[in-house]
């Protein structure tokens, strides 16, 4: 079977690239870690890949606002390439900082026509960067191709600006993929189950095609059993909850 070519985008301050590369490799993809300058200079073509990932990190220090400067760079310098990549059936995954970038660049919740983006990711209600594990409920009705067959996940978050803020009239239009809940699936549990104060407990969204997906939690940090915070109590599963996301992405491309 032909290899699924996956591009992990690096920019100054990206810091989850290595483990994201590893997760996709484990899922059977052929992975390249590419610096944004290589795309801008034309040394690498987005069209040579089938999956693009914007991994976690603090691109450009998250100065001004998280992901903002990389978002502008993408929309000012690679806008056409990315739009064509999406039109041509490519998959885009944004994790944590990647979520912030995709939203602020206007590629989520859907490609915009230059108007004001309808939602953003703002500072956590706690006012703090926090690293903690969260329970996620997956909206199986969503078109998201990354989460097919997954009903819930337990994953870590680590961010200071992960609160989804949206105009109320936009909310019904969103393709929400993931919601924060407590361990019983209750979505009204509040902080710290919803770690940032996201409106309607939103943890991840996709576009209408289901091929552009972004989330605040880190699936690449739970791809095997010993990454679970309680594996020494509960026993280690072979694969972590996040692994299926990478498998789904690779299999979806392979089926094309």
């Amino acid at each position: 079977m032909a290899k699924v070519r996956t591009l992990i985008l690096r920019a100054p301050g990206t810091n989850c690239d290595a483990e994201t590369v590893f997760a996709f490799q484990q899922a059977g993809a052929e992975v390249c870690s590419i610096h944004i300058n290589q795309l801008i200079r034309g040394e690498q073509q987005l069209s040579d890949y089938q999956i693009m990932v914007i991994p976690g990190g603090f691109t450009y220090g998250d100065d001004i606002a998280a992901g903002k400067v990389l978002a502008n760079e993408l929309s000012l310098k690679l806008d056409e390439d990315i739009k064509r990549f999406i039109e041509d059936g490519g998959l885009i995954l944004g994790i944590c900082n990647g979520f912030q970038v995709l939203v602020k660049a206007g590629f989520l919740p859907g490609v915009s026509d230059g108007g004001s983006p309808p939602l953003t990711l703002a500072a956590n209600d706690s006012g703090k960067f926090e690293c903690r594990w969260v329970q996620l409920w997956v909206n199986e009705e969503s078109p998201c191709v990354f989460t097919k067959g997954i009903s819930s996940m337990y994953l870590p978050v680590a961010h200071a600006e992960g609160k989804v803020v949206a105009d109320p009239e936009v909310l019904p239009e969103l393709n929400v993929v993931l919601y924060y809940t407590d361990q019983y699936g209750n979505s009204q549990a509040g902080y710290p189950y919803n770690p940032n104060g996201s409106v309607e407990n939103i943890a991840g969204i996709c576009d209408t095609s289901g091929r552009v997906f972004a989330l605040m939690p880190h699936p690449e940090r739970y791809i095997r059993g010993t990454q679970h915070p309680q594996w020494t109590r509960l026993g280690a599963k072979k694969y972590g909850d996040g692994f299926q996301i990478f498998i789904n992405a690779v299999e979806w491309v392979q089926r094309l």
């Binding site: 690096r10 100054p12 301050g13 990206t14 810091n15 989850c16 290595a18 483990e19 590893f22 997760a23 610096h35 300058n37 290589q38 976690g56 990190g57 603090f58 450009y60 220090g61 998250d62 100065d63 001004i64 606002a65 903002k68 400067v69 502008n72 760079e73 000012l76 310098k77 004001s116 983006p117 309808p118 939602l119 953003t120 703002a122 500072a123 956590n124 209600d125 706690s126 006012g127 703090k128 960067f129 926090e130 690293c131 903690r132 594990w133 680590a158 803020v165 949206a166 105009d167 880190h218 690449e220 940090r221 791809i223 010993t226 990454q227 915070p229 309680q230 020494t232 109590r233 280690a236």
Partner: protein, 945 residues
């Protein structure tokens, strides 16, 4: 110039403001009901109104949550009629503003025209009634650190050009050197003799080079000195204790010890591990945020600058502060309050470490009044590199000196000599240029590109530019060859630096490479491709001279031999006499519940979750055992485990031991206890002692006082004695001396503080165990004997006492015991294990219970005693070393007891599902019965900020 203010829409809560409201309330100012924070940007550019609008809409303000304006706000939009105080805080001239570079880059992306400069500020809108002193307190205690910031009183000219530096060679009359360089009398004589032989006067930069190369920070002259200790003379304490034990143990897996920026051991034959812990005490005392951040930045560059470069994969941070409730009125003048230091240090470490993408998985925080003016900030980094890169490189004559990374400014000038001096009340104002502000993204970019250059073999040697700046880095690199440096080639942040300032600046995020001429083109291109500056600033020679040039003028010319070997050995006297303290005479309380709750909520023992959560401990995806464990992910894990190579089942355990309060009684047993504690933590999580490497970090007072030096000698001797028996070599270390503070005639010296950091190679991470109780009905064992050793214990401390019976260590017994316990865990017989440290059995059992959400029944009369103890409280809270609490399933009882049969162990109770901790005393009477929820609450409450 344009001024833009960006603020949250008024209906949205302002998290930054609300956390400030809490801090203001902590100052006992209760009349403030709200604070809004406004981001201010000054842009030095000539933008059209349309272009400025684009900049605001697309870049500076978030379209959903924020608004912007060009004027100056007095109050939030729409809140007319409510009185607000406004305070605007900006950076002082010359202080690095990390946001500046990013905004300039982003403005260039937008293509709005030339931007010459950017400055930022924060504007605070404070709602509530305040008087002048209260407003002043909010400014000085929370908002402004005068070292780096000031309150903007009126519109200032933000973009003053720095005056250009005009070259003039500065020579110093050799007979007039005096005190300004901090030389001792012996050193001064050596310098005078040297320059008399040269027949000329020294230049300023030559003296700076000598002062810095010969500083305590760089050469450890006390440790390498000649110390008269009673009847014995020790010629080089380091070589006779810490380095000696490594030499004697002669472990084949020690790949590089005491010769590079970090120690290196073999991991699995394919990879090598590289470990270093540094202190950044003095800068953190003056500017906690910047000081701690650059502490992280600095120690990360140690593994990066070891061998041919290691990737940083884990951080560990240990802090010592005065208690957060230290009374303001007792605070010495010029000293920041410990709560502010704590918060600032935490934020600095988290912001820098998180941005670099290095997980912070291990650490400790200790409190004592005597750290009030000298907080201790230990930052450590573990690195991973292919084994073939583990040896320090060697350049050839003709190789080029290439400076890579950040630009050079006045940051940290004289930081090294500052670090080796006493702090005084004026330090906050006189030492401003020693404070460094970091920019983690510059360092992250540097790491990314450096590791690529390493793998391509583009340089022959690397070192970090740390304390002492280029002077230290290039001076050391060129010691065996000689080097010429052209100081005018060094890229500067701003104009106006003299050649001497360029040479000694401690600006962050810089590394120095030796690059063979045929590689230089490829290297420079690689760095340019990821926007990291790299500049050739000199070349290595073969004349063993250090020659410095500026604009074609020779400004410094020193013989390498004199620079590195010409320093006269320090001579010091040391004495040691054990102090005697009052022995406790209080009666054993009938109910030990209160005593346990009190210890659990003491600053030293209580939960540090508030800190740990704000560190990213998952990044890089390697964590196996996290700092917070148990049913609710909030129990205190003993040591952290990571899987450094993601495709392997092998792991590294990282642990630390530190017990400064024992040093008040005897620093020998303090050091022994610290080593024992670090090793216990390794064994407790399922490791063993087969491949354990140690680091030492001594933070001490004024070692020119014989009794303080005597304490240092005792501690170093214990390091030798313990490591020899445990067979755990030291691979690197560091000392920070002169940690004392003088005010109104009094001297506050810190506690003698030794931090032992340990790494252990774990063959199979799947054998890891955590400390939380797993199942009701399982048996609880104590392994090791309990002695009447409460000297320096938390229990005595809650009674305001110290005592004299400090916990000792019998390393032969300890080693056998740990060996046996490791065997049991390797066979999967142990469900939970926790070592006994502060608070003894009492605290350990409580932590295991509430972390597991289960109760326990404990019988103190079953505890094996090494000597007769007739008090329940002493058994429960003794801090004897080499002890573990172990949970074993009933079906494994036989096998476990058989393995342990050669050592002291006993079954002292069992895990219950009652959610209550019940302890029965020597008489059989119940002496403690507390719901685990209460115990946990007492433990979590103090630092739930």
């Amino acid at each position: 110039m344009h001024r833009v203010e960006v603020y949250l829409k008024s209906y949205l809560p302002d998290a930054r403001g609300l956390s400030l409201v809490r801090d203001i309330h902590d100052l006992s100012i209760t009349t403030v009901s709200n604070v809004r924070v406004v981001d201010v940007y000054w842009l030095d550019a000539d933008l059209t109104p349309e272009a400025l609008d684009v900049v605001c809409r697309r870049l500076l303000a978030d379209p959903v949550t924020q608004e912007y304006r060009y004027g100056r706000s007095r109050q939030p939009e729409g809140n007319v009629g409510i009185h607000y105080y406004t305070i605007e805080v900006a950076y002082n001239a010359g202080v690095t503003d990390p946001v500046e570079g990013t905004v300039i880059k982003a403005l260039q992306d937008l293509g709005v025209g030339e931007v010459r400069g950017v400055k930022t500020a924060k504007r605070y809108l404070i709602e509530g009634r305040l008087n002048e002193p209260q407003l002043e307190a909010i400014c000085s205690k929370l908002l402004v650190n005068p070292i780096i910031q000031h309150v903007v009183e009126q519109e200032e000219s933000r973009f003053l050009e720095n005056p250009q530096y005009k070259f003039r060679l500065k020579q110093v009359d050799v007979s007039q050197i005096g005190q300004q360089f901090g030389f001792s009398e012996d050193e001064l004589q050596a310098i005078i003799a040297y320059f008399q032989r040269q027949g000329r006067n020294p230049t300023d930069v030559e003296l700076e080079t000598l002062a810095q190369t010969w500083s305590e920070h760089c050469v450890h002259k006390t440790f390498k000195g000649r110390i008269k200790f009673g009847e014995v003379t020790i010629d080089n304490l380091l070589k006779n204790t810490i380095m000696k034990v490594t030499e004697e143990l002669n472990k084949p897996w020690c790949l590089s010890v005491f010769e590079d920026n970090a120690g290196v051991i073999d991991f699995d034959g394919r990879w090598a591990l590289c470990f270093k812990v540094e202190t950044h005490n003095h800068p953190s005392a003056v500017e906690p945020y910047g000081g701690a951040a650059t502490g992280i930045g600095g120690v990360v560059r140690d593994p990066l600058g070891t061998g041919l470069g290691a990737k940083p994969i884990l951080n560990t941070d240990v802090f010592c502060f005065a208690p957060p409730d230290f009374p303001y009125e007792k605070l010495p003048k010029g000293v920041l309050h410990p709560r502010r230091i704590f918060k600032g240090v935490r934020a600095g470490v988290a912001d820098y470490g998180n941005r670099l993408g290095i997980p912070t998985l291990n650490g400790a925080i200790l409190f004592d009044d005597r750290y009030v003016a000298n907080p201790l900030v230990f930052c450590g980094t573990l690195g991973l590199m292919p084994k073939k890169f583990s040896q320090r490189g060697q350049q050839q004559a003709g190789d080029l000196v290439v400076l890579v990374g950040g630009r050079t400014g006045r940051d940290g000038i004289h930081g090294v000599t500052f670090a080796s001096e006493q702090l005084t009340g004026e330090s906050s104002t006189t030492s401003y240029s020693s404070v460094q502000i970091g920019n983690p993204i510059v360092e992250k970019k540097l790491i990314d590109v450096l590791l690529q250059a390493r793998d391509r073999g583009l340089y022959s040697r690397i070192t970090d530019c740390g304390g002492g700046g280029l002077s230290s880095a290039v001076g050391e690199m060129g010691a065996n060859t000689g080097v010429s440096v052209y100081l005018d080639k060094v890229p500067l942040k701003y104009a106006g630096l003299s050649y001497a300032e360029i040479w000694v600046s401690e600006s962050q995020e810089r590394m120095v490479l030796a690059v063979p001429p045929h590689c230089v083109e490829e290297l420079l291109a690689l760095f340019a491709s990821e926007n990291v500056e790299a500049v050739v600033i000199g070349e290595f020679t073969n004349d063993r001279r250090l020659q410095l040039f500026y604009q074609g003028n020779l400004v410094g010319d020193l013989d390498m031999e004199f620079l590195h070997d010409g320093r006269p050995q320090v001579k010091r006297e040391a004495v040691w006499e054990q102090p005697q303290y009052v022995e406790p005479d209080f009666a054993c309380p009938p109910d030990l519940g209160k005593a346990l709750l009190k210890i659990l909520s003491s600053w030293n023992v209580c939960s540090k979750e508030w800190v740990i959560r704000q560190y990213d401990h998952e990044v890089q995806g390697a964590s196996v055992l996290k700092p917070l464990v148990g049913r609710d992910n909030d129990g205190p894990g003993d040591a952290a485990i990571i899987r450094p190579a993601l495709d392997s089942e092998m792991g590294v355990i990282v642990a630390n031991g530190i017990n400064p309060k024992y040093g008040e009684i005897d620093p020998y047993w303090m050091a022994a206890s610290a080593i024992d504690e670090a090793l216990r933590q390794i064994v407790a999580v399922g490791g063993n002692l087969r491949k354990v490497a140690l680091l030492d970090n001594f933070s001490w007072g004024d070692v020119e006082q014989p009794n303080i030096l005597g304490a240092l000698v005792r501690a170093a001797q214990a390091c030798y004695d313990m490591a020899l028996v445990y067979e755990t070599p030291f691979i690197s270390g560091k000392d920070s001396l002169y940690n004392e503070f003088q005010y109104s005639g009094k001297i506050i010296s810190i506690l003698h503080t030794l931090l032992i950091s340990a790494i252990s190679v774990m063959e199979n991470v799947n054998r890891a165990i955590s400390m939380d109780f797993k199942k009701a009905g399982n048996l609880i064992y104590i392994v090791g004997t309990t002695q009447n050793e409460l000297g320096g214990s938390e229990y005595f401390r809650t009674h305001g006492l110290i005592g004299n019976r400090v916990p000792k260590v019998n390393p032969k017994l300890g080693k056998e015991l740990m060996y046996r316990l490791s065997m049991a865990t390797e066979r999967g017989l142990v469900r939970a294990c926790h070592d006994c440290s502060e608070g003894g059995i009492g605290v350990a059992i409580a932590e295991m219970a509430f972390a597991g959400g289960l109760g326990a029944e404990i019988y103190l009369k079953s505890v094996a005693l090494g000597e007769s103890i007739d008090r329940d409280d002493f058994i429960l809270f003794s801090e004897s070393n080499s002890r573990f609490l172990v949970e074993v399933a009933p079906e494994n009882k036989g096998e476990f007891e058989e393995i342990m049969s050669s050592i002291c162990f006993c079954n002292i109770g069992q895990v219950t599902d009652s959610e209550v901790l019940e302890i029965y005393g020597l008489s059989g009477r119940k002496v403690l019965s507390e719901p685990i929820s209460q115990l946990k609450e007492a433990w979590q409450k103090p630092i739930r900020w």
